[in-house]
Symmetry: C2
Subunit: 261 residues, 2 copies
């Protein structure tokens, strides 16, 4: 007899450098694809559909991606975690594996997400941050950047900062956090939290903030792009390498109570 099917929540970290993003694409190496292959082998064959909370783009990293899948395996969570650690490559790592209620859906249950964007301000480009930060050896006027950040939090239509190819019904999202979380003379980390993000939204915000910090745009330009809902009024899209999905937030009721494996 085959093992009963159960739903498993997977917390994941990945270095996005060598992935064509999260979502499965035929012929490309994606995080979802590599994970589905491993889970399929682990349960002895048969397709496995993994649902991820955030569809990160090519080159974007994750420290706290959350996914779920229905699995037929007799391995308990601890053994499943152990097996996955051995099967998955060094750039896609399982942080926790937990059986959850059959109704759990990593994407639909998410209340919000937090993204970080790391910038290396050093003149020389630190080789130890190269994979995970944008090198920006230009002027960075923090007072101007803070003036831009202060304009962002709130529930509003973010069309001005969405990719032009973004196709969603509503572009209203509630941004609850937009700040510089860590900074030194040669490094800055932006943090953004919201109940959801539009495609390229964080990268467009960062590209605009960097242009403001360099003196190419005024902080007020953010208000103009927002009120006109016009992507052309905002700054350029910052590169993927600095972006990282840090955390997905769920209601306490669906947070697993057991210790993670």
């Amino acid at each position: 007899v085959s093992a009963a099917t159960r739903r498993v929540r997977l917390d994941l970290a990945y270095d996005g450098t060598a992935f064509a993003g999260w979502q499965v694409q035929p012929g490309s190496r994606t995080a979802q694809g590599v994970l589905e292959d491993a889970l399929s082998r682990l349960q002895g064959g048969g397709a496995v559909a993994v649902r991820g909370a955030g569809r990160t783009d090519a080159g974007v990293h994750a420290r706290g991606q959350v996914a779920d899948a229905a699995l037929s395996t007799e391995l308990d969570d601890a053994d499943l975690a152990y097996a996955l650690r051995r099967m998955l490559p060094g750039d896609l790592r399982p942080l926790a594996v937990r059986t959850v209620g059959s109704e759990f859906n990593a994407r639909k249950a998410a209340l919000g997400k937090t993204y970080a964007y790391r910038v290396d301000l050093s003149p020389h480009a630190d080789p130890f941050r190269a994979r995970f930060a944008l090198h920006w050896p230009f002027a960075f006027d923090r007072v101007r950047v803070e003036a831009g950040l202060a304009r962002l939090p709130g529930r509003r239509d973010w069309s001005g900062f969405a990719a032009s190819k973004c196709r969603v019904r509503s572009r209203v999202r509630c941004l609850t956090e937009a700040r510089i979380a860590a900074a030194s003379a040669d490094e800055v980390t932006f943090v953004f939290s919201a109940d959801g993000f539009l495609h390229h939204m964080v990268r467009n915000l960062v590209g605009t903030l960097l242009a403001i910090g360099r003196g190419q745009l005024e902080p007020e330009q953010i208000d103009r792009a927002l009120s006109a809902r016009d992507r052309a009024l905002a700054g350029p899209t910052a590169p993927a390498r600095g972006l990282c999905l840090e955390r997905v937030v769920y209601p306490a009721a669906v947070e697993p109570s057991a210790d993670p494996h």
Copy 2:
């Protein structure tokens, strides 16, 4: 007329992953080789001999390697730094470029060096530390490791921790620092400072300390390896990826006083 020759000190950082070590080897990509090629092109041809303070092995990183070279170029230090930043690859970066006295020799003038060795103790292997830390998902008893570290500082013969192929006249070195500099539940950084290190010395010390922390060796084994001067009594050589040349110390008299470029 050609530009006058002057001696330049170069402070460097590199990700050692894709280098066959510091020292030039025909047919291999080495940090010294890449740097000599760039400097030669920069001065319009002619061989350039770069001297490095530490000959790091294949896969070993550096945050504070120091080198020197005699250059014939009309570029001043600031323009030289700018040009090198543009010419050198992302995994070999110039931190500072300064004209020094013609007698400066990065290797001979060094009073000492500091190395760090980073260990990822997480069960899952953090993808963001993978290039720069050893993944060690085994028991790590910090009390035992500290008992081992406490045995190390002092001026002594380090034959017990030198590579068997190590060929130097004297194996006496003064180790002034051997400690855990930073630690969390899933990470530890060892720091070692000495007036000099033998080949593989830090990696052999770390391999022995990890074996002690895992319960495979007793802390007293360090005394035995030292007093017998027998490499076979110490633990295995830890992998290169966790090791980083952090700093080279010079007498105040030869430290450049000008602002670095």
